[in-house]
Symmetry: D3
Subunit: 291 residues, 6 copies
């Protein structure tokens, strides 16, 4: 169908964050437990919920035109697709996912080389095999159907390659990270033919722009204050240089209004300084998007 | 009691949305599971929780001065009240409620006329009787105590008249919408004597204005950007014409600040154009009310 | 450790509100069910979760430098600490906690003096003993391990001293408030030595300023509108005088933009007047902080 | 269809108890949230879930052959059906449902006669009208769509006729029972033609026998013990006379085994006496059915 | 370790049923959310929770001595293990799991042969490939990471091979079962060396006997009654012949006590007959095990 | 009041187990969230829900006649009451509660003597003070308001005295049990005057007998089988000697029926032997009470 873009929402751990991100970007995606088809309020798009593990396969095959999934799975399947951009979900709890090599807390494994001859369980069989084979370490890699951490706790294998954000589940199970093998962030990928189609490419780029504007606004706020004319320079100099402050005259007065955008963390530092410099009527307000 | 307005909050499907709407409009309504009386932080108002089916009855009788309920139930009871305004809860999931005629998916019913002699179950007995009688189709309409869809599935009746938003529950049960009989939206209704009392009328109008301002702001956002003076006209011409943009000078510069209000959907269209036209420092911020 | 502030988050009824308050103030505090240590995204701070009953003890002893707890418990333990400021969680549901003397609904107790010789159960044993002893009323005060209301219902004691916000639980149990003994609000307290240390004091004051800015913004909103030049005076005179309105020229026009901050309740009153005075394009937007 | 019985399970408050009762009686009824049709593992029966308010209507009309519903609703609708037997769900929490006349706790209503001219809200409009009309008390009875207790609390009506088991919800709302108007128990009802059909009647009677056997076994247990021959008479005389005890010889001994059935409450009384009389090896075991 | 049996509990859909089955058989298995190791109150056993998909692998490799898993997965992996016995979880809701070929409800697929050239998604890749290859039907079988039904709904593949008990989820999604490919029941499997070890084999057989005794007792009950001597033959002839009835003399009487075991369904048939034949004091009691 | 016994149910961790135990013993105790008074279906008893920490206080003072609480708390308060009997809740998960001395996992504390001068937090202040003072170890014991484990993790104190069943929470927090200070089981205690009153004492003893009979039946089952006359001696010799087996003649046969009571664990051992010895028709049935 021409002028219709088929987009893949990643099912599972990124699902809610992606729906929320679309919402902030102006699209209502509705996922119902009664239906596998997510709805979207854009007559030029349809959505499908797709496992991250399979996103690359379906984008490559043009079942969908574009979609979001972790780079780990896109590369695991060695899918032949276009990577449009990274989508760094920047909230504190959204550190990059790290694939790590994990052994029992009391084992003697110091590095990958200590695992020659061992059995390693993982969901990421292809990547793990390539990783050890590139280092000429002979290992037996086998597919794990989930609960992978339990396997090394239980002695069902010698080590695992598992994904983690903070490492806390691993520690809580008495396991130990031997080393990190790969970091992964979500990426927006597109089918090659779709990317070559001008209408589809513009649509994909529109989506990418708006999603990234919403991500950029996470943890960012607007700060607005009034200041006497002779303090404006001092005040603007303590504001973060991310964007130039917007300064405008006030009516019947030599005061000015100053407005700027910064992260919540910078606000913590800036406000005590602004007070000292004589800014008044300081207010902070929330932002939806920063372009 | 003079200078005290008694207001009816609709119990049930509109209850939470109404409480949230009052909150956005500046009133805290607190509904406790321990008490039937909702509290409200306005010394000139008291609230009662009332079933939509009975709202008209109690407003007509002056038990309460005004209230919100679906127009379907107000008209079912043919209550003699003033309809002050519609309250279109505009979120995507809040399409108008539709009362539809529903038959089994595999029945031969093509229209109301195919139901002559049939038994029809519904909660809206009065409306349904009037509908069929106006068309001279003899039917047996009987009151259904809920789970109305089950009745036609189970063969307990030939068809039903039931309310739906999206039709998905009906389809999921293997039923089929024959035709739509009525669309209904929530309305704010007032007792006739209360409406004639100047103080009460002003109070009711204040409530109506603020609730509508909050509804108008749903899915709307503010967009602010800086632009060189010679681009202002081009930029303002791509902004939706809902409200004129607010344009002001920036300090010590020939740039201007442009600020406008639009729906989230328009933002999707507008932002790529603004970037092309040279707007900078574009930010989007949320709104509570638009008057 | 120098340049490191140890801060106590109150466990229990104020816990979520405090974490949310820090979030609004620019700090992410993460409390995990797997760990007793809340994390905080500030390299100059560590947090501990501490019962309000024990906060004074640990601040006094310098186990932590500062913390938030109800003034009731700080004074119960007669802890020797600095009270930096009150933290009035101002939302409607956050009235000051009141410690009240409670008896059975049908008892004859009119005032504390009617309880001579009686047994009184309470969690606040020290305060209650001092209260009755100052009034020369001999009573037997005993520590209650919770479910204190049940004790007077059950006849296990003659009266209780219990904390309440609205009194509704007390009434629901058929009990009666005899009189109020003390009102309590949360306070930010600091260890005396920490307060004397310049770096720690500045850090504590930074926290206090930002938390109070966030509290000040609760239930407050920004209102922005355009007005013809000759209406500005009339319009600004109906705005609440909390902060001066910010007024600025519009481009190529004799209209002005007016912006002000007020409580949601004032908005209810002001908007009908602004409309009458000719204001246009009125929008209301949310605030995070007011300094 | 011949040799097929259509049976109505009451939807709502009796639903789970009825399904459990069928289970104890040897039938697996499966109610799925995905389907309106309950399944049953008996090739001679089909089930439907039907509101108690409508059970009489559908049995009378032969839509179903038989069903269980409260006698209150069967009589409200004055359905022309056969009442096969009462089904007294005997667990402690299953007291007969009582329809009571309820007024505000502080009203002066002493009896029905004090309500002349009043408005009474109830779900049981027909019964209530007949009740007051038989006593020549003119009242305005109106249908209540639920939350009936709230109506008298809220002053929407003068009194209500409502169903209750223990009266505790009524008391908790500050209301008062004026008097009881009717007691209701579940009944098994049958269509008149179905009852006249020999095969259907035998099937209905089989169901009635087994359901009643299961109900009879609720709170009943079996008690078994050994006793010397000369104590048998004394022991059997303290056992409840509900059923004769089963006494049998033991092998190579002059001891006897005694076995009897009684309620759990009688066990509390009997066991201390049995110990005194020299019974040994006393065990208590659970029962499923007593015929 | 000698005299220690390592046993695999299947994680997932059979997990709770298996724990409950061990409980009925006299073993307390405790699965904690804090630990991957289930505990068991038998000093001769340890347990591990293992995915059914991997059970065969770990039993074959002697990581565990024995375990329970569906025969589908044991055969998928072509594990070289001993199948000790079937474990037919006989409750109504536990029909054998069926692997079925599923296509869209409105497709033209009538049998496997209509799928030549198609893409089939399944978790059971090995079995599916063998199935089609034995029939010389060329298909592309690909591994599905779950939500397999969604794939055919969504058009991501042409057909799926999926497991189902009742087919109701398939129907609810608008899909259609083309044909059944395999039925699967849980089996108890053992490692070959463990089975050759006399102590381990005896232990495995003890477990098998007790688990099967508990399964045999599901839906079975004991029935006990008294009867006059001349009715015993008639009565015992209507009892199911599963086990001989136990008949014993009553003390000082020519009545006899008759006791037998049967399924709950047979009780429905038998009780009306027993009453007609003069049996008295009929009671039904629950059973834990039948050997 | 004469002939009325006031009984205390322990609120909290033993609450549900106690209510269930009373239910098995023939008393329905109903605890409602709307009321502090548990109901009981015995016209000679009333119940109160009381914290274990306060049970001794109220029994000593005759506010109640008897109650159940942990011996730890009865002795903490040094209440002057009669201990009627232990109530060993024997289910696997109900090991005796142990009060243990706990330090950080990596501390050097080997025994109580290493804590001279330390601060110890505990809910059991009196016992802990006595324990250390008897050993002449000077420590600072302070009352902990809950979350005691967090205190030693957080460094708020040097060690804690805390209750545990399995030690797993302690280990999960990285703490270490230094030694056990006391084991505690629930006890049934009585007021001294109540115990001296013949009617009350008999009532208390009746309760004690029935509760203990129910506890004795936990994890116990009945086993029944038929055997040829010449195998009876061999068979009864393998049965546990807890109670003599009940053996009776079968009608018109030289077989005998054998019935015995044993624990579920013994059944695991016994059944394979019974099969070898020729027993037939073995069934196992559940028990409610063993006296």
């Amino acid at each position: 169908m021409s002028n219709m873009l088929k987009f893949g929402i990643p099912k599972g751990s990124l699902e809610n964050a992606t729906v929320e991100l679309f919402k902030k970007s102006g699209w209502q995606v509705s996922i119902s437990s009664r239906s596998y088809f997510p709805g979207i309020d854009d007559s030029e798009m349809t959505c499908k919920l797709i496992r991250p593990q399979e996103m690359g396969r379906y984008v490559e095959r043009a079942t969908i035109d574009a979609g979001i999934a972790g780079r780990d799975w896109v590369s695991e399947n060695q899918s032949d697709v276009v990577e449009v951009c990274e989508m760094v979900y920047s909230k504190v709890s959204r550190r990059p996912a790290r694939w790590v090599l994990v052994a029992n807390g009391d084992s003697n494994v110091k590095g990958p080389e200590d695992l020659a001859g061992a059995t390693i369980a993982t969901e990421l069989v292809g990547f793990t095999k390539r990783y050890f084979s590139e280092r000429n370490i002979p290992v037996n890699v086998e597919f794990s159907w989930g609960a992978t951490e339990a396997k090394v706790v239980d002695g069902l294998c010698d080590a695992i390659v598992e994904v983690t954000e903070t490492g806390s589940t691993i520690k809580a199970n008495g396991l130990r990270i031997v080393c990190e093998l790969m970091e992964s962030v979500p990426v927006l990928i597109a089918n090659k033919a779709s990317w070559a189609d001008p209408w589809k490419r513009e649509k994909i780029e529109q989506i990418a722009t708006l999603l990234k504007s919403s991500l950029a606004a996470e943890n960012m706020v607007g700060l607005k204050m009034n200041a006497p004319g002779d303090k404006v320079e001092a005040i603007t100099s303590v504001l973060p240089s991310l964007k130039n402050a917007t300064v405008s005259h006030l009516y019947n007065s030599d005061w000015l209004s100053i407005e700027s955008v910064m992260s919540e963390k910078e606000v913590r530092r800036v406000i005590p300084e602004l007070i000292k410099l004589g800014a008044e009527g300081i207010i902070e307000y929330p932002l939806n998007k920063i372009i």
